[in-house]
């Protein structure tokens, strides 16, 4: 126990400032004023791998590490779509996952946001559309923000999430109040 505490004290707080929003990532402006009123700045995310190579998952995982510290921003990943405000979706949508994705979307209460992650989620990526792949996420469910990259790095993903929950035209999200 002593060693654990010493290690915690030794490392200290390593969290970095969050990236700015990027309006270029916004694909649809559905004016989510209602969701923002409801949420304030607390947000629950349900991550869904709809067919990715798992590269994007590695970078989404990194959001939880102490340097990006997404929970410090009031954002956390939840286990059920019924608890979620935002769906974070990776991969070209595999046809074998299409039904599960639609059901997960339907199970998420309105109003909800959808952020597509990675070149595959944005445009089908290297896999494209074929007998087993529906291609981009927006071919299956509506998408608010799309973050390209293969894989996008954690700052880009975080920027996409913050863009989704900021009002269109707003600049940088507020300071890290929870830290």
């Amino acid at each position: 126990m002593f060693k654990t505490l010493r290690q915690i004290g030794h490392i200290g707080i390593v969290t970095e400032p969050p990236p700015p929003c990027d309006e270029m990532l916004r694909v649809a402006d559905q004016l989510q004023s209602r969701i923002l009123e409801v949420l304030g700045r607390a947000l629950c995310i349900r991550a869904i791998d709809a067919g990715s190579c798992n590269g994007c998952e590695l970078e989404i995982h990194a959001l939880n590490n102490p340097l990006y510290n997404i929970e410090g921003l009031g954002i956390r990943f939840v286990a059920s779509p019924r608890h979620a405000d935002l769906l974070l979706i990776t991969g070209p949508v595999a046809k074998n996952m299409e039904l599960a994705l639609r059901r997960t979307y339907d199970a998420t209460p309105d109003p909800k946001l959808v952020v597509a992650i990675g070149d595959c989620g944005c445009a089908g990526g290297i896999f494209g559309e074929n007998y087993a792949s529906c291609g981009r996420v927006s071919n299956v469910i509506p998408v608010d923000v799309a973050v390209p990259g293969c894989p996008p790095n954690p700052r880009q993903i975080l920027s996409g999430i913050l863009t989704a929950i900021s009002r269109a035209g707003a600049a940088t999200p507020g300071s890290r109040s929870a830290v």
């Binding site: 490392i11 067919g51 995982h61 939880n64 990943f77 595999a94």
Partner: protein, 521 residues
């Protein structure tokens, strides 16, 4: 005929150019067998300690079906090919000797329409998105798929008895992980039986390969399983360079090994933290994910990418390593490793972790050998195989990696193997950075001619990554079969969880950390 006999015959056949020579990876031989020899060969392989590497189907230039199986033994790698006549839509199954062949054979039936004589005829990768009459690797035009695929009624094996109930989990899981379905049959908290249903992230990779030029397929290979990008793209390049008859310069081989060890380090560090977290030790996740991030940032500064997706290219590596990049990586390893040692002591001394890790998800040595458990998980169950030591390609001959092995086969053993391999990979990275030969990091590769059969075999962080490649006309890929070790190891998890409690499943599953994408293709 014993195992060695098949290898000898393959050697003679290759010499007389009767069988297709397997080019690329070291120590591979090809052998074309007759229908009545297919099962005999498999039986002899099993009896002689051979292990099934991969099984897939292909077609020659004349449209004749060929089923192939790759076996690995002390003598090397043997790729058996069984050509089928037009009248034969089936071939003899080998599940009896290699249980892992079950799902591979069912995948062959789904994708190529060739069935085996084995009993389990359920579809595997095909759910309800396309009809059973459509075989993606054979039929040219895809049928128009239904507007929305229906639920498929997969025939899970039912478990009866007093108080038995089922818990279905997935495909969408509670966490940031890939999709798959697990069907638990439990009594109280205890798992009587687990049946896996995979294939959810099947996205047509093998068919997609045929739309790529031979010199461009490494990009798709790197995305078969993103966490093993280096292993797959290296295996691909080994195969394509073999078909082209070229060797990469020594510096390129060393840089590839550097990338492979960095990939191993990043995954192992992440896993050790995540396994700790699954046992309720959030501190472990915080610490190891921070250390992993440090390593990824150093990798990005030195080689231009956090994850080395397109680093290995045909002919060498995409970028060279500068002396300042090498210094930076060395410093990063130098600062990371003392921290890992400190954390290992904390893990080892933590009573709560020891309690959760020891005796959870045991795979005994005998079971591991019978089921063909491979790679990292295999080495935690006494299956002491590591291609970097057993069948080394350049530069591992010079690097002489130390093999890591445990025999307990529980979560604790799989964590210990990771810790030991982190230390060993760190040593290898240092050794590579010190001894990196000068010279070119990339050479031009001529476009390989039609008809060549190449293979690549690389010890990725999870286990042996195998890839078979056939060159088509016009510099295009005719057939590419990438094979992740998860094919072998997924069925073993079904056994590892028996008699464990349901809440321990995430921990046991994470201790294997298998790929869905690499398996579903």
């Amino acid at each position: 005929m014993a195992l060695q006999g098949w290898f000898d015959r393959a050697g003679r056949q290759t010499e007389s150019n009767m069988g297709a020579a397997i080019r690329g990876m070291p120590g591979a031989r090809g052998l074309t067998v007759a229908r009545d020899e297919w099962r005999q060969a498999a039986e002899d392989m099993a009896a002689g300690g051979g292990r099934l590497l991969a099984h897939w189907a292909s077609r020659d230039a004349d449209g004749r079906n060929i089923v192939r199986a790759a076996f690995i033994a002390d003598a090397g790698v043997l790729v058996l090919s069984l050509p089928l006549t037009a009248a034969e839509a089936g071939y003899p199954g080998i599940e009896q000797w290699f249980p892992a062949a079950n799902r591979m054979q069912r995948a062959v039936a789904d994708l190529s329409g060739l069935r085996t004589t084995d009993a389990d005829g359920r579809p595997w990768l095909r759910h309800a998105a396309w009809p059973a009459s459509f075989h993606p690797l054979i039929d040219v035009s895809a049928p128009s798929s239904p507007a929305m695929p229906a639920m498929d009624n997969y025939a899970f094996v039912p478990v009866g008895g007093d108080g038995v109930h089922e818990i279905p989990v997935g495909p969408v899981h509670a966490g940031i992980i890939e999709p798959g379905h697990f069907r638990f049959s439990v009594v109280g908290e205890k798992v009587l039986r687990l049946e896996e249903r995979l294939g959810y992230v099947h996205k047509g990779i093998e068919r997609r390969f045929t739309e790529f030029p031979l010199l461009g397929g490494h990009r798709l290979a790197a995305r078969v399983s993103g966490d093993s990008a280096v292993a797959f793209s290296w295996a691909y390049c080994q195969a394509v360079e073999g078909i082209a008859g070229e060797h990469v310069p020594p510096r390129a081989a060393w840089l590839r090994a550097l990338a492979l060890e960095l990939e191993r380090l990043a995954n192992h560090l992440g896993d050790i933290g995540a396994i700790g977290n699954d046992a309720g030790f959030a501190f472990g996740l915080a610490q190891f994910s921070r250390i992993k991030e440090q390593l990824l940032r150093a990798t990005e500064q030195a080689l231009g990418q956090r994850y080395l997706m397109d680093f290995v290219v045909p002919g060498g590596t995409r970028v060279d390593l500068s002396s300042s990049g090498a210094r930076l990586l060395a410093e990063s390893i130098g600062s990371i490793m003392p921290e890992v040692d400190t954390l290992r002591t904390i893990y080892d001394e933590h009573a709560g972790l020891r309690d959760r890790f020891a005796g959870a998800g045991v795979v005994t040595q005998a079971l591991a050998a019978r089921l063909g458990l491979t790679g990292l998980a295999g080495r935690a169950s006494g299956q002491g195989f590591d291609l970097r030591c057993d069948l080394p390609c350049a530069p591992y001959v010079d690097l002489a990696p130390r093999k890591v092995m445990r025999t307990e086969g529980d979560v604790a053993a799989r964590v210990a193997v990771r810790f030991d391999e982190v230390a060993e990979s760190a040593r290898l990275v240092r050794r590579i950075l010190e001894g990196l030969p000068f010279g070119l990091h990339l050479v031009d590769l001529s476009i390989p001619g039609e008809g060549g059969l190449g293979a690549g075999l690389i010890e990725g962080w999870r286990g042996p990554v195998f890839l078979a490649l056939e060159a088509g006309a016009g510099g295009m890929i005719r057939r590419c079969h990438p094979h992740d070790p998860s094919w072998q190891n997924w069925p073993v998890i079904e056994h590892a969880v028996i008699d464990n409690i349901v809440p321990d499943f995430p921990l046991i599953n994470k201790s294997f950390n298998l790929s869905y994408s690499g398996h579903d293709l």
